[in-house]
């Protein structure tokens, strides 16, 4: 009987962690100016006295924050996807597909637009995005009848409508505020990691850490919630309170991620789905593995995005959508072939 043992946990998470470290180093070494891998290792892990200041600045101040935020945003979006899938008992759920990211983005843009007028602190953007994500999640539950009874198609339609509304709202607000260049709106809508500010890292890291820890603590409950509310009740889960904590945690993570990166799609779909095929569905392993893989996947995607077109940058959201779109269609097709997932 396969069971989750300490050694299995350690092995899977150890391998994934090693992969994330390698990807991070590669990402730090990759870019227009060539920095050798050994130099990057030296700069990150220890003695960099023999490396010139310009190279150190490139690695630590230019690429460093971007890679760090990529790790955080990837972990947040992927884990939020896995949590949504279990709570809604729907393998197609993802913060972007469900419109939760859209809600967060709309609120974040509102704060940004108002912030210019009323001189709000920059930390108000992630907070507003958190609120927006929370409202979108609440609406989603309300529209779908909640309690995991929703049909996959009903949920998807809700998400499509939320996204269309949020995109319209974002464009409208940006136009009214008049301070956005056209291309920056575009970047928000497709999702990117190119306008990263160092002072954002702290708030985002704290939010993502808080969200991840909450989700990890409730990962056993998530296993039982994935069986349905009544099954979870019968196995001793205080369903309402655990669900509320999990939704708060995901909204917090999604809000933080969206506030710095806009609408990066499909990470929450691609990562948990692929991992379930390899390591199974037990959330006590799946959630931390999803966080690590999401972090690595997004940094890898972003590294591709900034190097694949020589000299020009692609928004990372374009890369994840190119991978995620077809996967989504495949999953939808398979779900329909299996019949309604009640």
């Amino acid at each position: 009987m396969t069971r989750l043992s300490r050694s299995r946990l350690a092995l899977v998470l150890g391998v994934l962690l090693a992969a994330v470290v390698v990807i991070t180093l590669v990402a730090l070494a990759t870019g227009p100016s060539n920095v050798g891998a050994p130099d990057v290792v030296k700069i990150v892990f220890g003695d960099a006295s023999d490396i010139d200041a310009a190279t150190r600045d490139i690695v630590l101040r230019v690429r460093g924050p971007r890679v760090l935020l990529g790790l955080l945003v990837g972990a947040a979006l992927a884990t939020a996807g896995a949590v949504f899938q279990a709570l809604l008992r729907n393998p197609l759920a993802d913060p972007y597909v469900l419109g939760v990211s859209g809600g967060a983005a709309l609120a974040g843009i509102s704060a940004l637009a108002l912030g210019a007028t009323f001189a709000l602190p920059t930390s108000s953007v992630p907070m507003a995005a958190f609120g927006g994500g929370l409202i979108a999640t609440g609406l989603l539950y309300w529209v779908s009848g909640g309690r995991g009874r929703s049909s996959p198609t009903g949920l998807l339609l809700t998400g499509v409508v939320f996204n269309a509304f949020a995109s319209a709202g974002i464009v409208f607000l940006a136009s009214v505020a008049g301070f956005f260049e056209g291309s920056r709106i575009f970047l928000w809508l497709i999702g990117h990691l190119s306008a990263v500010e160092i002072d954002a890292v702290g708030v985002v890291a704290a939010s993502v850490a808080l969200g991840l820890v909450t989700a990890f603590l409730l990962s056993r409950s998530l296993n039982l919630l994935a069986l349905g509310d009544e099954s979870a009740l019968h196995l001793g889960v205080p369903v309402e309170s655990h669900r509320r904590w999990l939704l708060l945690a995901t909204s917090l993570m999604v809000g933080a991620a969206v506030a710095v990166s806009g609408l990066i799609g499909f990470v929450g779909l691609i990562v948990p789905h692929t991992l379930r095929l390899v390591i199974g569905s037990d959330h006590r392993l799946l959630l931390p593995a999803t966080a690590l893989t999401g972090a690595g996947f997004l940094v890898l995607s972003d590294t591709l995005a900034r190097t694949v077109l020589d000299g020009r940058e692609l928004p990372v959201g374009a890369v994840t959508a190119i991978v995620g779109g077809p996967l989504f269609i495949y999953l939808l097709r398979r779900a329909q072939a299996r019949g309604p997932m009640t």
Partner: protein, 262 residues
């Protein structure tokens, strides 16, 4: 000492509509009680009330004298297990994983299953003859295999009271007999079981007592050979049926199928 399960003036409601009212009966330790009645009469609703998944419209369900709605979810799940009719999960959990989830109410929030938990799960699977399914993806099971898996999970939960909602509906005769034998063995360990069943003759052989439900309430309750008689069956099911004593003395119910001439 394990607890009894007592329905005390329970009123069962679904969507504001009263199905059953003023229900009084008990399941005592060491006893298997059958819950029998036509579709929609409120049998599943009663099991949901007994497991505190649903609040009764009136009255209460007492577990060893304690109102089940006052117990924490965890405390209740350690003492009462429910085997649902069926379960659809859109994720590829393994059979062994699903069965081990029965240990969840006994474990701390964080932590993994112990060797003894795994041994328990393996034993339950083996006893039900599905040990070879342990590593199978639950989304690929047949209805009967799923039902056996859910029963194994309930056994692993190690409760004082077992609630079973048509536990043999998808099973062949061999597996029906095996599951019902396990229910008897469970009761023989001084625990209480309440079984919803549509197979009256098998219920009669399994249960110490049966509660026959009609629209609104109990039609008859008591020993199967006393309850499962033509008059009560007519009132409960609106059918004509005959009851015979099998050579071993247990009651066999044979319904009459109306023909075109009737």
């Amino acid at each position: 000492m394990t607890a009894d399960l007592r329905f005390d003036g329970v009123q069962a409601e679904v969507g504001g509509r009263t199905l059953l009212a003023g229900l009084d009966f008990a399941v005592r330790p060491g006893e298997v009680v059958g819950l029998i009645g036509r579709n929609g009469v409120g049998k599943t609703t009663l099991l949901r009330i007994a497991s505190a998944a649903l609040a009764p419209g009136a009255g209460r369900v007492l577990l060893g004298g304690e109102d089940v709605t006052t117990l924490s979810r965890r405390a209740l799940a350690r003492r009462v297990a429910l085997v649902p009719q069926d379960l659809h999960v859109p994720f590829p959990f393994r059979v062994g994983e699903l069965v081990l989830m029965g240990r969840a109410p006994h474990q701390p929030l964080l932590g993994l299953e112990s060797e003894s938990d795994v041994a328990r799960a393996r034993e339950a699977l083996d006893r039900l003859g599905i040990g070879d399914l342990a590593d199978r993806d639950i989304t690929h099971l047949s209805g009967g295999e799923r039902q056996l898996t859910l029963f194994a999970r309930a056994l692993v939960q190690d409760p004082e009271v077992l609630l079973l909602d048509e536990p043999t509906a998808f099973l062949d005769l061999k597996h029906r007999v095996e599951v019902l034998a396990e229910v008897r063995a469970f009761a023989a360990r001084g625990r209480a079981a309440l079984v919803v069943s549509h197979d009256l003759s098998l219920a009669a052989r399994t249960c110490d007592r049966v509660v026959l439900l009609g629209v609104g309430g109990i039609v008859a309750a008591g020993a199967p050979s006393e309850v499962l008689q033509p008059d009560a069956l007519r009132r409960a099911f609106d059918i004509e049926a005959e009851s015979f004593a099998a050579p071993d003395g247990q009651v066999v119910v044979v319904p009459r199928i109306p023909t075109a001439r009737d």
